[in-house]
Symmetry: C2
Subunit: 210 residues, 2 copies
């Protein structure tokens, strides 16, 4: 590499770094929740619901009015909330703290990658379901629209670093943050409650790609 | 600064960085626990105990056989374990996850800095105590002996960065890690359960100062 190429590289890195640090990304903290298929819903809830209590930041998605219990031979967590709408697979997302309470060891996965996910029993008001591959710890990720991805020079599937809690007593840098780009998405960094608490973050706090 | 000074600076930084990365630091994950004075012990336990179930890595310290419940108007956590020996102040350390369950907002503090700590009721088999300033979230910290501090070129009170979970799906860099140097200490990086889970760490995993 000749010196002028090297200077161009440095200038480009600097420009990207400055652009990214000028675009704050809001945090969404995911408490334990479930996604469910329509047929599984009928097993747990019969013909009632689902009801919507409030939209979340991702377009078309919402926190539901209904909850279930999730049960293993070693533990039980109550009032696990539905996140709608219906999906093509039933999936439960918990924190590692929850996993210890349940005595299970779910893998860290992107949403939907259920091969090897942990088994669980779902208990609703009208019935129960035993699912062999259902529970995961969500891989931390950023949702981006194509316009966000362009502004931030990020590609779908890219692995990013995110600085969080800037200036606070629990500031940290998350490695291995997965970028997920879709025209169905809005800009948001998703972490679970363990990750949020480790950096003392709450919903709508702002972070930056570094 | 003239160019040869600059080269010396870079060489020194590089040498320090290489030395630090050659010295792994074991992790101690702190689950919720309490330290207690002898007089408070008598209120909660009467004349029984304390008993020792196992030593921990810090010399002279041990996990006790006895537990208490900790109670607020909004919640209760059971079987919170004693960490001995007796101390000059009674102190409860919890995670932020625990704090949400208890409905309190404890500050992040170094051990012993109880001014402004959150109130709590301690419930033992023989009595209860209501303490106005007692509960904190532990500031993440590294214990070092003077020899460790010398090898790592770290001063007591210095604020460090620690890389954890290297190569794993939850690798991260903790900022704001407090160095605590004493001839009573053994080399160990202390985090709470939220911080451990955020990086998928367990006791005796190894981290590095960066």
């Amino acid at each position: 590499m000749n010196p002028s190429d090297r200077v161009e590289d440095i200038a480009r890195d600097l420009e990207l770094s400055m652009r990214r640090s000028s675009i704050p990304i809001p945090i969404g903290v995911s408490n334990r929740h479930f996604h469910i298929t329509q047929s599984h819903w009928k097993v747990l809830f019969g013909d009632a619901g689902p009801t919507i209590i409030r939209p979340v930041r991702q377009p078309g998605q919402w926190a539901g009015g209904e909850t279930i219990d999730i049960v293993t031979p070693k533990g039980r967590l109550s009032k696990v909330r539905h996140l709608g709408p219906f999906r093509s697979q039933t999936q439960v997302e918990v924190s590692k703290t929850d996993a210890f309470a349940l005595g299970i060891d779910p893998p860290i996965r992107a949403s939907g990658a259920l091969s090897g996910a942990a088994p669980i029993q779902l208990v609703g008001p009208k019935g129960t379901l035993d699912l062999a591959e259902c529970v995961l710890l969500a891989q931390r990720h950023i949702h981006l629209s194509p316009a966000d991805a362009s502004r931030l020079s990020v590609k779908d599937g890219e692995v990013l670093r995110v600085r969080a809690g800037l200036g606070g007593p629990r500031e940290l840098v998350f490695e291995s943050v997965l970028a997920r780009v879709s025209d169905k998405f809005a800009l948001e960094f998703h972490v679970d409650t363990d990750e949020a608490n480790a950096a003392l973050l709450k919903n709508n706090d702002l972070v930056h790609i570094v």
